[in-house]
Amino acid sequence: MGTPQVMKKEYNMHLDFSLPLGKAYTKWMQALKEKKILGNTCGKCGRIFVPAKPFCEICFEEPREWVELDGRGIVESFTVCFEKFRNCPDPPYVVGIIRIGDAATCMTHFIGGLAYQRPEEIPGQIRIGMAVEPVWAENRTGDPLDIAYFRPVK
């Protein structure tokens, strides 16, 4: 008699839900359709938020003034994913924390347009502080993925 094995069943729950985006995020995402990256500014502390924020976390003010940025940013941090995760692209791919212009906030996005032979070479292709620019998706629907990815500025 061997040790009795405990059975395992794989399953997953499918959940549909919708997230009301509110005024600030709606305006910000609508602009992406037109290949525009906007930010909004807190009238009290003057910080610019990209992506736009519904309120300033420090002043609790609604940032009312909107600015258009050229979309260029710098890589504040990054990681290279080597494993397949659900709802994520096939590896390898790079996820970066990108600061657009002088924004007080950063956005998380993919970094692409890199030259490499083997996946292990990717981390060496990116450096903190590297300048990046958006590459726009062909079909834009008002979504952060209207920016297909950011690529190094040549």
Binding site: F49, V50, P51, K53, E57, E76, S77, F78, T79, V80, C81, F82, E83, F85, V95, I97, A104, T105, C106, M107, T108, E120, I122, P123, I128
Partner: protein
């Protein structure tokens, strides 16, 4: 993935020499080795293999620079703690453990504000809890600590936030063996979350392990006569929520 970014940010700040200096290379594997060695002595630990530097360093890369053996598993498990009045506690146990101070903190949900450099809210929480508990020098005042580290390198950021060392010196603390099970302040004697991650109970487990250590019931992983311990847990995908408890005999 956010977790890998958090760590990269931390290492980058260290590599740049300020305010954290002295960690030009990835060091997370060394935390994993320490914790995985501790798990060998814990019959309740889920993972009790892969504890040599070679095994950790040769495990598959998940999200650079974090390898598989630096990541927590998905575990099944349960933890029970009995909380009672002082009188009842004395009836129930010959070695009751006292909650000298406990508190939680929550960060904003909006992640764009985060710079992923450190656990800044944990630092604020530690100050509050230490004040309540009369902790002046965490490294000397605590005899044991369990810190929530689903990814091994988080431990280093937590040493910093919890004031175990001067800010930026967490790597030296690890290198000098201060937080090994026979060091000055053993951390994650249980093997930590890197070795057993049973969802929410994994957070409670940090507190239960400290209680067991203080009661002298930690079996093979028992630290010699600890009297004051620190338990830390966190939640939220970017660590928005932290809880700290100072437990004493």
């Amino acid at each position: 993935m956010g977790d890998a970014v958090v760590e990269k940010r931390h290492l980058r700040a260290e590599a740049q020499g300020g305010p954290r200096s002295g960690a030009p290379e990835h060091i997370g594997w060394k935390v994993a080795v320490k914790d995985r060695l501790n798990a060998l002595k814990n019959p309740y630990a889920h993972l009790r293999h892969g504890f040599s530097p070679e095994e950790v360093l040769e495990s598959p890369m998940v999200t650079w620079p974090i390898r598989l053996y630096e990541c927590c598993p998905t575990s099944s498990g349960a933890v029970a703690m009995i909380l009672a009045s002082a009188e009842r506690a004395k009836e129930l146990s010959g070695t009751p453990v006292w909650v000298r101070a406990v508190s939680s903190i929550a960060d904003t949900f909006l992640s764009g504000f985060k710079v992923y450099r450190d656990f800044d809210k944990l630092k604020i929480l530690a100050k509050r809890v230490y004040e309540k508990a009369g902790i002046r020098n965490p490294l000397k005042d605590f005899d044991v600590a369990e810190l929530f580290n689903p990814f091994a390198p988080f431990e280093l950021m937590e040493y910093d936030a919890l004031g175990f060392c001067e800010e930026g010196k967490s790597v030296s603390l690890l290198r000098d063996g201060v937080t090994e099970i026979d060091g000055e302040l053993p951390v994650n004697m249980s093997g930590g979350v890197v070795c057993t991650n049973s969802g929410i109970s994994s957070a409670v487990n940090r507190h239960a392990e400290i209680a067991l250590q203080l009661m002298g019931k930690a079996e093979g992983r028992q630290v010699k006569s600890p009297e004051v311990g620190l338990a830390h847990s966190w939640g939220g995908n970017m660590g928005q929520f932290h809880t700290l408890a100072v437990l004493t005999l």
